[in-house]
């Protein structure tokens, strides 16, 4: 008899059971809100109404509504302008930063990418404080020139702002694409006699074309589902967009037209999903264009002589105007009674806004709720994504591919649609009413939103661990579940910690899905920013934004530190 032959054969069943549980749970999490919206869009009345009937009339009323058609047209126009701005700024600045020998390239790149971590709502508020109709800079210009040369409450104006908000996303994608590109192709062109500018035009840009097309789609989708800029700049001037239309129709009526709302939410979802589908097709073909090398040698940046200082100055000016000054202005605004160029701000210096935050329950509660939701939600999301990645990459689970697709699907679901979907889920699925107006439903909705980014953080690093590492554990006698706990999780620990922080930051800045899910008691920073802004109390909004900025900044610094310090585990492999 074998000396150690005492293992229980039930191990297999448990592994399979866990894999199925992960699959079913993920599918439910992602599909539930979408299914409810789809069903609602085909009903004559709200789902709780027993007398409702199946009908397409919701779509009829939606597309028959003149308001909606205007909002849709505005949204498409906004998406178009912001796409052009974001892609232009993003592509050109990533080429300049990756390929030219600008002074302080690493710092510039980090600063240009930084706004990714800032909530678009806070960015929009910062711009409003500085460049809005009664903003500091606007007033200053009116004083000097008699007029403000821009109107940010117009579609082109908002398109530019939306573009600036999304430019870092484009940059992130293009810089990684450029990093993978074989730089010797450009060196060869230089040797053949091309000037740096010519190289960019004839070699770099064409090779980057797939990344650019991808960015175009990415930002177009972003423009369609954007809520921040339309809300801050468009709402006061009566300009309506798809997202604000959804918000007003859901929240603004005592008796909303559920069928039409469902139709609107589903239409937005389908539009975005189709674009994301095209995006994925393009991404799949990317390998054919971009020359990928295993470990690309970091090329020597192109020497562009005196132009490096010109470009450097341009970057600094851009960063100041688009990011640094608006954020400083927002922070400054939180410390003064009024912010106007006519009178020195030092005369109005005050801590009143922070006193308001401290004294009125709702503000502290929102901050506390945000931190609790982020702390718990990030842990749950990370745990779920660890399981999902292990099932997708490290098991013989029959639907592993499908599970990956489901986990990545929320990329195609606009935040507002997630919010509406989960609102209706808790309202109408028997037994889930308990969750209505709780922090739990926020955590669930945010988690669903963040599945793709969490998966994208964990999956690649798990992919780097050789399959033989866990196969060898199986052979020496560990079950799938035991291998997951003892081998996969410890090895993926750095990625899981990074994932925790990525999700945490995203939870703290989330607002789009939250606007439908909050009720007195479960407000988070994002929803309170919106409701306070709606009341016109700019001071507390600025103070709350400052708090969110500081929180995010601290977390991002921790994340950067984590990524910088390589652990023994990754070194060893």
């Amino acid at each position: 008899m074998h000396p150690f032959a005492s293992m229980k054969p039930s191990a297999l069943d448990r592994g399979a059971l866990i894999q199925w549980a992960v699959f079913v749970f993920t599918v439910l999490l992602v599909a539930a809100p979408i299914i409810v919206i789809a069903v609602q869009s085909l009903q004559s009345g709200p789902l709780y109404d027993a007398n409702r009937e199946w009908t397409f009339s919701g779509y009829g009323r939606l597309f028959g509504s003149a308001e909606f058609r205007v909002a849709l047209g505005n949204s498409l126009a906004l998406a178009l302008v912001s796409t052009l701005v974001a892609t232009g700024v993003g592509v050109l600045s990533s080429i300049a930063l990756v390929r030219f020998d600008l002074p302080g390239r690493a710092w510039l790149e980090a600063a240009m990418l930084g706004p990714i971590y800032i909530s678009q709502l806070v960015l929009a508020l910062g711009w409003y404080v500085l460049y809005g109709p009664s903003g500091y800079v606007s007033l200053m210009l009116r004083q000097w020139l008699g007029d403000v040369p821009w109107n940010l409450a117009s579609i082109p104006g908002m398109g530019v702002l939306g573009g600036l908000a999304m430019a870092p996303m484009v940059m992130l994608f293009c810089t990684s694409s450029l990093g993978l590109m074989d730089a010797s192709l450009e060196d060869a062109a230089r040797s053949a006699g091309a000037s740096p500018l010519r190289v960019v035009r004839s070699i770099t840009l064409p090779l980057l074309r797939p990344a650019i097309v991808y960015s175009l789609l990415l930002t177009f989708v972003g423009g369609l589902e954007m809520l921040s800029v339309p809300l801050v700049f468009g709402w006061p001037s009566g300009l309506e967009f798809f997202t604000t239309f959804l918000l007003r129709e859901t929240m603004g009526h005592a008796d909303p037209d559920y069928g039409m709302l469902g139709a609107a939410a589903l239409s937005l979802l389908v539009m975005v999903a189709l674009l994301v589908l095209v995006q994925q097709r393009l991404l799949a073909q990317r390998q054919r264009f971009v020359t990928v090398r295993g470990k690309a040698h970091r090329p020597k940046p192109i020497d562009i002589g005196r132009w490096r200082w010109v470009l450097f100055a341009a970057f600094v000016a851009y960063l100041l105007a688009a990011v640094v000054l608006p954020m400083l202005a927002l922070v400054l605004r939180s410390f003064v009674q009024y912010l106007t160029p006519l009178i020195s701000p030092w005369q109005f210096l005050t801590l009143d806004h922070y006193r308001v935050l401290w004294e009125q329950d709702i503000y502290l509660r929102s901050i506390g709720n945000s931190l609790v939701a982020a702390g718990i939600g990030a842990a749950l999301t990370t745990a779920l994504i660890a399981l999902v990645s292990a099932v997708v990459q490290r098991s013989e689970f029959r639907f592993a591919r499908q599970l990956e697709m489901v986990a990545m699907f929320p990329r195609a679901v606009p935040g507002m649609v997630v919010g509406i979907g989960f609102l209706w889920v808790v309202l109408w699925v028997p037994g889930l009413q308990l969750l209505h107006g709780t922090l739990a439903i926020m955590v669930i909705a945010f988690s669903m939103r963040d599945l793709p980014s969490a998966y994208a953080t964990v999956a690649p690093s798990l992919l780097q661990v050789s399959k033989e590492i866990d196969q060898s554990a199986r052979v020496v006698g560990a079950s799938w579940w035991r291998t997951f706990r003892s081998i996969v999780v410890p090895l993926a620990k750095p990625a899981l910690i990074a994932c925790y922080f990525v999700v945490f930051v995203s939870f703290v800045k989330e607002y789009a899905s939250a606007v439908f899910l909050y009720a007195p008691g479960n407000e988070v920073i994002g929803t309170t920013l919106l409701s306070t802004w709606a009341k016109g109390e700019v001071g507390p909004v600025a103070a709350l934004s400052a708090v969110q900025l500081v929180l995010t900044l601290a977390l991002v610094l921790v994340l950067a530190w984590l990524r910088g310090s390589k652990s023994r585990v990754t070194e060893g492999n």
Partner: protein, 367 residues
């Protein structure tokens, strides 16, 4: 330890049969090697035994335990099989020390801590790695990692030991040493061992028996001597021992003996016709070291002399290697004498010529 029996193992990906009706038996304590070029299905076979790959058909049995039986729908999980598998990459867990790596299998088997510690020390001492017990894998050299991987496998006394090209990541000198102690360890512990390699020297030196695989099939099983001296096909003769393979037409020679005529009308006399069913062409395999080259000027025209021309000469230290053009064919010859480039006679003694019926008249030596 127990015997390992593989019967009719088959696996296809689409139309490609990666394992094609593979059957063999490794007796208790025997060392069997699966030898073949890359892509021949040897590793797939090994992983099927370990349970990391599920074939389409056949049966795998160790002792009285059925690991896999396609017909009965049996497929035990890897952890239920108690096999010891040493990976080509060693697959040591980078977040565990050497000792933790070796003790992990015992922990899974709920072996009491004190006993596990003794057992791990025993396993590490088998491979002379006891002093490194507290190091992490990345602090070890390739050879040391390889030995830890073996200790991690031996520590739970697996029913069969499976080795997937375990020496291929070591440098030449280390490989020779590792080969020595692997063989010594295997004999001492009387492990039923299945070894996978593409290196004929390793296979010949280590194995009790060798199974040569090609295109998903086992083409010959035998002792190293049998495989080397009596290959059953020209492919085996070529793969084990780097034989030359010349293709010609069979002919009855003037003295009544069996011979082969090549394209340029030169002929060779053979000791006996190939076995098996005759075809229209004959492959003659001969090892480079059995070919004797003589300068044409020496004039000694004996039997089985082919006329040719040296077109390349390589100095390899202990010997010279020559490339000889004979008609359209090329012949490799190895000898210690230095011979000038130019016309020569090449002697291919009949007792060293291994004839095979060829399936195609002008085919290459692969079956």
């Amino acid at each position: 330890m127990a015997e390992l029996v593989v019967t009719g193992l088959t696996q296809s990906y689409g139309l490609l049969r990666v394992i094609n009706d593979v059957s063999f038996r490794v007796s208790d304590g025997e060392f069997l090697t699966l030898l073949g070029p890359s892509g021949c299905g040897k590793s797939t076979t090994l992983f099927s035994i370990a349970g990391l790959n599920r074939p389409d058909g056949g049966q795998i049995r160790v002792g009285n335990e059925v690991f896999f039986d396609a017909a009965a729908g049996i497929h035990r999980t890897p952890e239920e099989r108690h096999c010891g598998l040493v990976f080509q990459s060693y697959a040591l867990w980078p977040h565990m020390t050497v000792r933790e790596n070796v003790q992990f299998p015992l922990k899974l088997r709920r072996v009491p801590a004190a006993q596990a510690r003794d057992k791990a020390r025993w396993a590490l001492s088998l491979v002379d790695m006891e002093p490194y017990a507290d190091r992490y894998p990345h602090e070890l050299s390739g050879g040391q990692q390889q030995r830890v991987a073996l200790a991690r496998t031996l520590v739970y006394e697996p029913q069969v030991l499976l080795l997937d090209e375990p020496l291929s990541n070591l440098d030449a000198k280390l490989r020779l040493r590792a080969r020595g102690w692997l063989r010594e360890l295997q004999t001492r512990l009387r492990l039923t061992t299945l070894y996978v390699t593409h290196d004929q020297d390793e296979a010949l030196a280590l194995s009790d028996r060798i199974a040569v695989m090609s295109a998903g099939k086992i083409v010959q099983i035998g002792t190293p001597r049998q495989i080397y001296r009596e290959p059953e096909t020209a492919f085996i003769a070529d793969f084990v021992g780097h034989s030359n393979v010349l293709v010609g037409t069979p002919q009855r020679l003037a003295d009544g003996s069996f011979g082969v005529v090549f394209g340029d009308d030169q002929a060779l006399q053979l000791a006996a016709p190939p076995s098996g069913a005759p075809t229209s062409a004959v492959q003659v395999a001969i090892r480079p070291e059995h070919v004797t080259l003589r300068p044409k000027s020496s004039g000694a025209a004996g039997s089985n002399m082919l006329q040719g021309r040296i077109i390349q000469r390589d100095f390899l230290g202990t010997r010279f290697e020559y490339l000889v053009a004979i008609g359209d064919a090329q012949l490799r010859a190895a000898c210690t004498d230095e011979i000038e480039l130019g016309e020569i006679h090449a002697e291919l003694p009949a007792r060293h010529c291994m004839p095979f019926w060829s399936s195609t008249a002008f085919g290459n030596p692969t079956p």
